[in-house]
Symmetry: C2
Subunit: 418 residues, 2 copies
């Protein structure tokens, strides 16, 4: 099987001057990787004739598939369409279907079409017109000397729609691609190197055609299994069998698969068990509540939160004992237990969660340096607390504490559902 | 003055397969733009000898300055150092200073150094060793045929430190660069096109050497003024004079300059006036509290929040009248007034803020469709509410409401300080 090589060319001055981040190339890379096309280069050039033509001819020598984004606006500084016509030596002609589409696009939105926009329906005669249902600049498909080219707008959702509706479905008919199957195991509460130690024997025994990648992020590690072959059904079964083999060793860390987030996994656990939740967030200042309520439907299991940013509110609103605060301090095991119990009672919830710590960068002491955080989870007949020793970076401390609190709740939920 | 051209080469398979986003190239672009160096191309290649050497020779033909990131790890798949030595035709030699630095780096962290890491102190004999104080892979500086090359690790904070400490300060001695002065005016509460209408006459009358860019983001528009010349002091004065000219027309929308965020601007307003704040967040679910508490020192003016995710808690904890909820509903002007007043009282704060809305994607009605949001700000002797009609996108609705609430508070603060 021949390796299929792709090159991505992003066009636009705004990409070179750092005014916008090119998220398109990253997304395209991921999608091509998933179908077994190898991206060999990404190139970004400005709105400049010589630079764009040079990028075209360099790419043609290297790649079987060239994906171009940007430079398709109606104004004069956008050159991609004219230069593609020049590069392939063909003229630009009116494509009635394309003119109709752009006219309809404006009409639908109750806006007058301008002569400049009508010209967006004029295309190189050597391209295949690819309708863009969500914008005004059409996609253009070229085939030349065995190399396939697709030109797409730089607007991310327009590019994605053209890739998903046209380019990605077309690839299997153009190239002899391997069948690839991916499955991502999502873990929390264990560091990358500890996880690697736990699964080393299994990893080393994986068959040649199944590969493992560690993808770490804040407090979490994703394990991506990629299987290559010819029969998708068989690959799925093989990958699932491998996961069944390793799962008993890592089950306590696995919260979900593929694109599921920790907050949505927890939402499902709560929903399925009919339980509700309340939070008392001190050092995390609303961050965890925000994660939980970012999930649609979270009102089914989230009752509410209190953010008591001073001791008096921990006392008055949540019922933390004045003596506890005086003798143990706000950042202490006893305080987070009482905060979790208090907020649970206030909102009549099944579970109460709490956080209290020194987020930084200032405010630490010898005994409790910046980055000292206590968290707790309280429920019917139990309360569990945990101490974290984090960094001097305020935002990092907030985010890592958020993951730790969610994972503490997850463990409490699993134990209580047994 | 000759235009100085730069090219950025990012090296690493993980960039081509979409496993990580290349934020380095974007950051470097911005920094070079600020000092008047023009980035003419960004190239990403994998860990492959031929591809990397091709990228080197292509870049050398185009650029005066070549900045390379990545491929400097101690393992065999990292090729950058060996290929730079090969490209410039020199050997790799032990650099005692560099070996010492990497040894000290490990010792400081209480870790054993490995033979592989010691080799990170061996460098091409034709390069200038540039110490990396925050990592193990040194920077390497080359000068060849009038082109300057810098090779840096791909780890963002290591690259940034080398750029800030070494590359950026060095540029003025290498190239005849223009003096460039930027100032960013940060506005909130007005859309890009309305703002453009307001300042059109002023914009058209700007002198040739001062340029204006509109940089819109969620609910905010930044106006970037860039002045080109030879005398920095004079450019600063000219830009400030231009800002003085336009400020009276847009003052109500301007909350700060350059890198100041809306939440930190509001923090300063509160701190300077000695006032405190409390929030009742329903549809924003903790997002605004999170923004406010992400600012170090916010405990000086932030008392706390309640997130009452069900009507009973709006009633029990915040004292919203049951009748109001029954007759007007939770998403109503009267409810957000009562929520803001209630939370202000609960936390004994000078200002109370509230949000209540239908964040979506489900839960709307004919009368109150998804995206209907009410917000309020309450203080001594006043209460002000505002209705927003937003989209079907839950996260977008939360974020736009956050900006609107902060801006409502800003306006209340300014009016009350007069």
């Amino acid at each position: 099987m021949k390796l299929i090589k792709a090159e991505i060319i992003a066009i636009g001055d705004e990409l070179l001057y750092g005014q916008i981040v090119d998220t398109n190339s990253h997304w395209i890379s991921q999608e091509l990787d998933l179908v077994g096309v190898k991206v060999v280069r990404k190139t970004t050039v400005g709105d400049n004739r010589e630079d764009i033509l040079a990028a075209f001819s360099e790419a043609e020598r290297r790649a079987d598939l060239i994906l171009i984004t940007g430079g398709l606006g109606p104004t004069q500084d956008d050159l991609t369409k004219a230069l593609l016509a020049e590069y392939f030596g063909c003229g630009i002609v009116e494509v009635p279907e394309a003119v109709e589409a752009v006219t309809a696009f404006f009409k639908q939105r109750g806006r007058e079409i301008t002569p400049l926009n009508i010209l967006q329906g004029h295309l190189p005669s050597c391209c295949t017109y690819v309708p863009n249902e969500v914008g005004t600049a059409p996609g253009m498909w070229f085939e030349n000397n065995g190399v396939y080219w697709m030109s797409m707008p730089g607007v991310p959702h327009e590019m994605k729609k053209l890739m998903e509706d046209f380019v990605l479905p077309k690839l299997p008919s153009l190239f002899d691609l391997p069948v690839i199957y991916h499955k991502v195991i999502k873990t929390v509460g264990i560091g990358e190197s500890w996880l690697a130690d736990l699964i080393r024997a299994w990893e080393n025994a994986l068959p040649e055609h199944i590969r493992l990648a560690y993808l770490p992020s804040l407090g979490q590690v994703r394990l991506r299994l990629t299987a290559f072959g010819t029969d998708r059904k068989k690959l799925e079964q093989e990958v699932d069998a491998q996961i069944d083999l390793i799962l008993p060793s890592i089950a306590e860390y696995v919260y979900g698969y593929d694109s599921e987030s920790l907050e949505s996994a927890i939402g499902n656990l709560l929903k399925n068990s009919g339980k509700t939740l309340a939070l008392a967030e001190s050092c995390t200042g609303g961050y965890i509540s925000h994660l939980i309520t970012s999930i649609a439907g979270s009102s089914a299991y989230f009752n509410g939160s209190v953010i008591p940013y001073h001791n008096q509110f921990k006392e008055n609103i949540l019922g933390v004992k004045g003596e506890t605060l005086r003798t143990q301090g706000a950042v202490s095991e006893e305080t987070v237990h009482e905060m979790a119990a208090g907020v649970r009672k206030l909102f009549g919830a099944d579970f109460g969660l709490s956080s209290s710590g020194i987020a930084g960068p200032d405010g630490g002491s010898e005994e409790k340096p910046v980055g000292t955080v206590w968290i707790a989870c309280s429920g019917e007949g139990f309360s569990e607390a945990k101490k974290l020793q984090l960094s001097r970076d305020r935002m990092l401390n907030i985010q890592v504490t958020g993951v730790a609190v969610l994972n503490l709740l997850r463990n409490c939920l699993i134990r209580n559902n047994k």
